[in-house]
């Protein structure tokens, strides 16, 4: 049920980000903050739990969602950098996160839950690094 909620939110967020591609960058950034980041956080928590429980199928589903979402984040900040914004760190970290989710999918497909747990921890820490870097006063 929890996974279903995350999937539904994922679908709405991806659809929203597609619509926002034609909107203003301020609106896009606001929506990024409100929905997409929350979905990423929830999915990341779910991934961590499913890896610990060795629920391979559910964990792979979470990792695939995150892989897609970090692609959205990376694209967003790449556009921001192209528009002159100071978001180079965000591009690097979202790219790293996307790569980590791909690693997790490979590790889970190989049944290597221990490596997947470590990669999921790296992923959570990468998120935290980015949020600390761009934390607002």
């Amino acid at each position: 049920m929890r996974n279903l909620a995350v999937v539904l939110r994922f679908i709405s967020v991806v659809a929203l980000s597609g619509l926002l591609a034609v909107g203003s960058s301020i609106a896009e950034e606001t929506e990024m903050d409100m929905d997409l980041m929350q979905t990423i956080e929830d999915t990341n928590d779910s991934l961590s739990s499913n890896v610990a429980l060795e629920e391979g199928e559910a964990a792979i589903a979470d990792a695939k969602i995150l892989n897609e979402l970090f692609g959205v984040v990376e694209d967003h900040y790449t556009k921001e950098v192209a528009a002159g914004g100071d978001f180079a760190e965000a591009v690097d970290l979202s790219s790293k996160s996307k790569k980590l989710t791909a690693d997790i999918i490979d590790q889970l497909n190989a049944g290597d839950f221990e490596s997947a747990a470590n990669s999921a921890t790296d992923l959570a820490r990468t998120c935290k690094t980015c949020h600390n870097f761009y934390k607002e006063d």
Partner: protein, 481 residues
């Protein structure tokens, strides 16, 4: 099926489900191999994931956040730049939203520094006794956390998270390892001073773990646990007779219900309370300690006496198999003006008193543990919710600094006389972010030394597998021996 047998059926079924739930709740602990007795007694000893380096932890929380720039982290550049503004380059990547703002860099005129031991660790003149044990310590000079209010950061220090509801580190350890002494709780909290520590029991509670794993606070004084003492109006014989009668009646009841394991568990908890009535006061009774030992901990001195008493009690609890002893620094007896390390103004006065209160007792604890052969199997952790800024506040104080500070550990499984990480030249923040050690990394490392893999120390709460380090922690492998 009559009412009684239906009730028995439901009771036995629920116990079976409960046992199965418990088995599922501890996937990393191989609980499926646990005996029925372990399932009934949640404090039964459990095996770690791999051989442990230590048996017990003494967690020395320095309440109020000491300035480690005034204790361990010598910064010659800060001395040179004192009175000037903080260069922007030092503030990059941090948000200095603490209420005091960013003022001129500050150093105390009373501070002097010296290196000690073969490790050459720096200590200020505030810690002359602890400095003698430099080569026993493992410094983490790249500690970080989230700096909010004291209460919230203390919660993070103890539970790994900013939100209430998660178990404290000691509770996770009790849950994962059970009790090594059936007569005492595995997790004890000690404090000195007139009142309970800031923010109270949320810092030693069991969160979503069963309540049996929460810390038991031992009050200062001769009567450590509320309502454990026999009322004055009852003689010891009267109490013994009534407890014996109760015990006989309970046994009769249990014999009539041989399948009622809940009743057996309850009787066991009564037995524990009975045994604790003797064991707990004895564990904290210092009357049999020698004068030399008491002096070692500074118990003969008004300023060091109450904190020294807590630490000597901590050693006695370690000897009796208590797994996790959380010692929260308070204030010297009778002191009402300075009650923590929180020096927003007049740092010299505050730290002069607080450092004096803890310096000799902690040095005494390390020496005592070492001489008794206990330091190798014990971990002493000197920790705080955050530290203080290199810039001044209110002229002679310092504001909160969560971006880079020093904590240390001493004991089994660690590289002694070793320093990991560093802050920048002014002590504003961690010099290399890849070496940053957050609270959940400290927790992961403590668990590792106890033989526990933090990723496999799990509990299912609301359908989700939770672990002590939330989703973040990593063991600081570079400090392991």
């Amino acid at each position: 099926m009559d009412n009684k047998s239906r009730r028995d059926f439901l009771k036995n079924s629920s116990l079976g489900v409960g046992g199965a739930a418990l088995a599922g709740a501890i996937p990393g602990l191989n609980i499926s191999a646990a005996s029925a007795a372990e399932l009934i007694d949640p404090l039964a000893p459990k095996d770690p994931h791999f051989p442990a380096k230590i048996k017990s932890v003494i967690w020395l929380h320095q309440n109020g956040a000491p300035s480690t720039l005034d204790l361990y982290d010598y910064k010659p550049e800060l001395v040179k730049q004192a009175g000037k503004g903080v260069p922007d380059s030092f503030l990059k990547g941090i948000k200095t939203s603490t209420q005091g703002g960013v003022n001129e860099l500050f150093v105390s005129n009373n501070r002097s520094w010296k290196q000690y031991g073969e490790s050459g660790a720096w200590f200020s003149n505030l810690l002359p006794n602890l400095a003698q044990h430099a080569d026993k310590l493992t410094f983490i000079k790249s500690s970080v956390t989230i700096g909010a209010t004291h209460d919230i950061s203390i919660l993070k220090l103890n539970t790994g998270d900013l939100n209430p509801g998660r178990p404290s580190l000691g509770a996770w350890i009790s849950y994962a390892l059970g009790s090594a002494n059936p007569d005492l709780p595995p997790y004890v909290v000690l404090y000195n001073g007139a009142s309970e520590p800031r923010a109270g029991s949320v810092n030693w509670n069991s969160g979503f773990l069963p309540a049996v794993y929460q810390g038991t606070a031992f009050r200062p004084g001769d009567s450590p646990i509320y309502y454990l003492d026999r009322p004055e109006l009852r003689t010891a014989l009267q109490q013994r007779n009534s407890l014996d009668l109760l015990n006989r009646l309970n046994k009769l009841g249990a014999e009539n219900r041989p399948l009622d394991t809940e009743l057996k568990a309850r009787l066991r908890s009564y037995d524990l309370a009975d045994r604790m009535q003797v064991a707990a006061p004895e564990a904290v009774d210092l009357s049999k300690e020698t004068d030399a030992t008491k002096k070692l901990y500074g118990i003969d001195d008004a300023i060091t006496g109450s904190y020294g008493t807590s630490l000597l009690r901590a050693r006695r609890l370690v000897e009796r198999g208590v797994r996790f002893i959380q010692v929260v620094s308070g204030a010297p007896d009778g002191e009402t003006e300075i009650t923590s390390w929180d020096a927003h103004d007049d740092l010299d006065k505050n730290h002069g008193l607080m450092a004096k209160m803890v310096d000799k007792p902690i040095a005494g604890l390390l020496e005592d543990l070492k001489s008794r052969g206990l330091l190798e199997s014990t971990l002493v952790v000197w920790t705080s919710e955050f530290s203080r800024t290199p810039w001044g506040e209110s002229g002679t104080g310092r504001d909160h600094n969560p971006w880079g500070y020093t904590q240390w550990m001493a004991g089994g499984g660690l590289k002694a006389g070793f320093t990991y990480g560093a802050t920048d030249e002014l002590g504003v923040q961690v010099a290399d972010k890849d070496t940053a050690v957050d609270t959940y990394d400290l927790h992961a490392t403590v668990l590792h030394l106890l033989g526990l893999n933090h990723l496999k120390t799990t509990f299912i709460n609301n359908g989700r597998s939770e672990r002590p380090t939330v989703v973040f922690g990593k063991v600081v492998k570079d400090i392991l021996a």
